[in-house]
C-alpha cells in the first residue's frame, strides 16, 4: 500500500516537473524543475531497491550536472523569455507518444513471454551497493574503466572548448579571410 502511494505520488510529481521543463518559457524555471524531477526519479530507484543507483542519481544529476548547467547558464542571457517558433503541435506530440509506446512494446515483448533469464541475480540479504560493486568490478570492469576514461576525456574537452578563444573559425571563413588571419598571426609572432 505504501509502495503504491509512493509510486503514484512520485510519478505525478516527476511528470509535472518534466512537463514544466518542456513547456516553460523561463530557462531558470526549467532548470529548477529538471533538478527537482531528477530527485524525484531517485525516489523510484529507492523504491525499487536500487539504493546505489538512487544515490548516484542524486549526486551526479542534481549535484554535478545541474551545477554544470547552472554555471553554463551564467554565460547566457537567461532572464529573457525564451522565444520559440512553433510548428504543428499535433505532429510533435503524436510522434513522441508513438515512439515511446513502440520502445516500450519492444522492450516489454520478451518479458511478456517470460523468457528473460537473470544473468546476475540479486542475492538476498546482501546490500545493493555491495552487489553492484561486485558486478561492476568483475563483469563490467572494462566498460567501467572505459566510462572513467570517457568522463576524463569529456572533462578535458569541456575545459578546452569553453576556455579556447573561438572568435575565428577556419571552416566558416573563405580563403581570403584565412589568408588575412594568417598574416595577422605572423605579424604577432614577428613583433
Amino acid at each position: 500500500m505504501f509502495e503504491a502511494v509512493a509510486f503514484y505520488l512520485f510519478a505525478f510529481l516527476t511528470i509535472a516537473m518534466f512537463y514544466i521543463v518542456v513547456t516553460t518559457k523561463q530557462a531558470l524555471y526549467a532548470l529548477t524543475a529538471l533538478a527537482a524531477g531528477m530527485i524525484f526519479i531517485s525516489a523510484f530507484f529507492f523504491i525499487l531497491g536500487a539504493d546505489f543507483l538512487g544515490a548516484i542519481q542524486i549526486i551526479v544529476y542534481t549535484g554535478a550536472v545541474m551545477a554544470l548547467y547552472a554555471f553554463g547558464m551564467m554565460f547566457f542571457d537567461t532572464t529573457r523569455d525564451v522565444k520559440e517558433k512553433q510548428g504543428n503541435k499535433f505532429i510533435i506530440v503524436g510522434l513522441s507518444t508513438l515512439a515511446a509506446i513502440l520502445v516500450v512494446v519492444i522492450f516489454a515483448a520478451p518479458m511478456v513471454s517470460e523468457n528473460v533469464v537473470a544473468l546476475y541475480p540479486i542475492v538476498e540479504g546482501v546490500g545493493n551497493t555491495q552487489e553492484v560493486g561486485v558486478v561492476l568490478f568483475t563483469k563490467y570492469l572494462i566498460p567501467f574503466e572505459l566510462a572513467a576514461v570517457m568522463l576524463l576525456v569529456a572533462m578535458i574537452a569541456g575545459i578546452v572548448l569553453a576556455g579556447k578563444k573561438m572568435d575565428l573559425s577556419l571552416t566558416l571563413m573563405n580563403s581570403e579571410e584565412i589568408e588575412e588571419a594568417k598574416k595577422q598571426k605572423n605579424k604577432k609572432v614577428l613583433s
Binding site: 509502495e3 509510486f7 510519478a11 516527476t14 511528470i15 521543463v21 518542456v22 526549467a30 532548470l31 529538471l34 524531477g37 531528477m38 526519479i41 523510484f44 530507484f45 536500487a50 546505489f52 543507483l53 548516484i56 542519481q57 551526479v60 544529476y61 554535478a64 550536472v65 548547467y69 553554463g72 547566457f76 525564451v82 520559440e84 512553433q86 510533435i92 510522434l95 515512439a99 515511446a100 520502445v103 516500450v104 522492450f107 516489454a108 537473470a118 544473468l119 541475480p121 540479486i122 552487489e131 553492484v132 558486478v135 561492476l136 566498460p143 566510462a147 568522463l151 576525456v153 569529456a154 574537452a157 569541456g158 578546452v160 572548448l161 569553453a162 573561438m166 572568435d167 573559425s169 566558416l172
Partner: protein, 101 residues
C-alpha cells in the same frame, strides 16, 4: 493494489514522450539538453524497474553507464554551447543551418 512492472513501464513511456516532445519543440539549445536528460532518465527508470522485477543486476549496470554518459555529454555539450554562444551571441536552433545539404 500492487505496483507491477507495467506501471513503471507506463511511467517510463510517459516521461519518454515528454522528453521527445521537448526534443522536437524546444528551439533553445540549452533547453534541448534538458529534454535529452529527460529521455535518458525515463529509460533509466525502465532499466531499474526491469532489474528489480527480474532480479537481475544488468539493468542497474546499464542505468549506471547511462548516467556516466549523460554526465560526459553535458560536459562536452555545454563546452560546445559556450563556444557557439561566444561566436554567435545566441543559442537558437534555427540559426544553425550550416549543415544544409
Amino acid at each position: 493494489m500492487e505496483i507491477g512492472l507495467n506501471h513503471y513501464l507506463v511511467l517510463s513511456t510517459i516521461l519518454f514522450a515528454i522528453g521527445l516532445v521537448g526534443v522536437m519543440k524546444r528551439k533553445n539549445l540549452l533547453l534541448l539538453f534538458f529534454a535529452t536528460e529527460i529521455l535518458l532518465n525515463s529509460v533509466n527508470i525502465a532499466f531499474a524497474a526491469i532489474s528489480h522485477y527480474y532480479g537481475d543486476l544488468t539493468g542497474q549496470m546499464f542505468a549506471f553507464f547511462v548516467i556516466a554518459i549523460a554526465a560526459s555529454e553535458v560536459a562536452v555539450g555545454l563546452g560546445l554551447l559556450i563556444v557557439w554562444f561566444k561566436r554567435h551571441g545566441n543559442i537558437d536552433l534555427d540559426s544553425m543551418t550550416s549543415m544544409r545539404g
